[in-house]
């Protein structure tokens, strides 16, 4: 069975080789400072006590006032897993974080996907381009403030009026 690193234990172990890189920890999660992500990930991959050689998943969440990049790591030799998180773009400014492609090549398409759909820039990515959508697509669709096509032609308030008017008129025009 896979051992899951607790946030507190992992934060302590990271602080031992990269002092000052941890922001906080809770449950199974460790929050890292964005600028230290490359050093920490490099250490987690190579150091004998971790050996996190496989990046399972890399994604991001839009929390309105900031974005959170989430890394799920797996260690094949130790059969262990860990969760790293990092808050970027505080106050919805331009969000960016160093790329981890030099550490794990598996981050290549996943970082491009996060840039494409969530709009977080990965500094140092070797091929920093959109992946699902075409170059020139307006905006980043997975952001919470993205206006979809349906919302752009019928806003939420208009939709409400539409329903009310059909009720009173008995079927619109």
């Amino acid at each position: 069975m896979t051992t899951v690193w607790s946030g507190a234990a992992l934060a302590e172990a990271i602080e031992a080789f990269a002092p000052g890189s941890v922001e906080s920890s809770a449950g199974t999660d460790v929050w890292l400072k964005p600028e230290s992500i490359s050093d920490v990930c490099g250490g987690l991959k190579t150091r004998a006590e971790f050996k996190f050689d496989l990046l399972s998943s890399l994604t991001a969440v839009d929390y309105i006032d900031h974005f959170e990049v989430v890394y799920h790591l797996t260690s094949l030799p130790m059969n262990a897993s860990a969760v790293l998180k990092s808050r970027v773009g505080l106050g919805r400014t331009d969000a960016s974080i160093p790329s981890v492609v030099p550490v794990w090549r598996g981050a290549d398409y996943q970082e491009r996907e996060v840039w494409d759909l969530m709009g977080i820039r990965f500094d140092g990515h070797p091929n920093h381009k959109r992946i699902m959508l075409w170059e020139g697509f307006p905006g980043h669709p997975l952001r919470k403030d993205y206006v979809t096509y349906d919302q752009s032609i019928v806003g939420p308030s208009d939709e409400q009026e539409l329903v009310e008017s059909t009720d009173s008129d008995g079927g619109g025009e």
Partner: protein, 370 residues
């Protein structure tokens, strides 16, 4: 006398039968040799992750069907496990056994498609593919018996499955398993020792295990390089710790090894299903609606669950804000990530091997683009 050549750029796809959907590659050739490849995705992007933010947890099951549409049950399975972890739902034992049977049947169906189309890409037009698809058809008939649908099943629900299998399903399943083994024997008799298959697949697109792990590649591709990594064994979910199966490993890490691992894994799936049939007991297939209501409101928090899908680690990351739909859903799509090394596999190879290598990755564009 050497003939002077100059590189030519060729656009392959998106509409091409060998691209397994709508995949496009810009390939630069120098004669027959591939010198550069640029994959271009997104022709099947439907924004499933955005759509999920507006649907309830039960409605999203139908979205997961349409991601990797040749292994819908496995998508359902990964998603439902993530919901159960997020909402702390205890599943019903009979429902768990039923969804394990469904998942393993789906794995066989998916591997049959992968194998059949790989042989088709090799130039064996028709016959081996029809043999594989004929067997897949029987599995789809079994799915129709248990849930009424063949491809987009939506069979699983938080806590189990939505209905019990009818009485006539069990004898049909026994016959189906015998048929699967017979078809695998047939395929292997024609293909696994075939000189033409050897010469086309052995020694092509070889990747080292270190490179595969570094590029997050999992599933049959990783096991074909000799790395013993199967989430059903290393991180057992559901009742996979109560069944015995062998992990299929090959050390060559070439196109033949990937084909061989998939064929042998189908036999192991049949073994797992037989053990499930022995251990399944009567009872409810899902908790009552008092325990697990139709509208689930998981507590605030996030959950990531990964299962061993037919193509590798299939993970769902769900974030809840306490509402009736997820705040964010992310799919760790093994098909997309398994393509990371496509350039390494193709560059330096021959044009004739391009689609064979591509077929041996076993990707599904519905999952790549989502």
């Amino acid at each position: 006398m050497a003939i002077k050549t100059q590189p030519v750029t060729v656009n392959l796809g998106p509409q091409h039968p060998s691209t397994h959907g709508v995949f496009r590659m810009r390939v630069m050739f120098d004669g027959e040799e591939i010198v550069d490849v640029e994959p271009i995705f997104g022709y099947l992007h439907r924004g499933s992750e955005k759509l999920a933010e507006e649907r309830t947890y039960t409605q999203i099951v139908t979205l997961t069907d349409r991601m990797d549409y040749v292994s819908s049950m496995l998508n359902n399975h990964a998603y439902i496990l993530a919901v159960e972890k997020l909402a702390r739902i205890e599943p019903s034992p009979r429902g768990v056994w039923l969804r394990m049977i469904a998942s393993e049947l789906q794995r066989v169906a998916s591997h049959l498609v992968a194998t059949g189309f790989l042989i088709q890409d090799l130039g064996a037009l028709g016959t081996p593919l029809i043999y594989a698809m004929r067997e897949r058809e029987n599995i789809l008939d079994l799915f129709e018996m248990i849930c009424g649908a063949r491809i987009t099943n939506s069979y699983l629900r938080p806590g189990g499955v939505f209905m019990d299998a009818p009485a006539e399903f069990w004898p049909a399943l026994d016959r189906g398993l015998d048929d699967i083994v017979r078809t695998i024997d047939e395929l292997e008799a024609y293909l696994s020792g075939n000189e033409i298959i050897f010469s086309r697949t052995k020694g092509t697109a070889v990747l080292s295990p270190e490179l595969l792990i570094n590029a997050s590649i999992t599933g049959p591709m990783l096991r074909a390089s000799g790395v013993d990594w199967d989430l059903r064994h290393r991180a057992p979910y559901d009742y996979y710790d109560r069944v015995n199966f062998e992990r299929i490993l090959h050390t060559a890490s070439d196109n033949y090894a990937r084909y061989w691992v998939r064929v042998q894994e189908m036999r192991e799936s049949v073994k797992i299903i037989k053990q499930c049939i022995e251990q399944i007991e009567p009872g409810p297939v899902r908790p009552s609606f008092d325990d697990v209501p139709r509208l689930i409101r998981p507590p605030e928090g996030d959950a990531y669950v990964a299962i061993e899908g037919s193509k590798g680690e299939l993970g769902f990351y769900l974030v809840s804000d306490g509402g009736i739909s997820p705040y964010r859903m992310h799919v760790r799509a093994s098909s997309l990530i398994n393509l990371t090394l496509l350039r390494d596999m193709l560059i330096g190879g021959q044009f004739g091997d391009l689609f064979v290598t591509f077929g041996s990755v076993d990707l599904n564009m519905g999952e790549v683009d989502r």
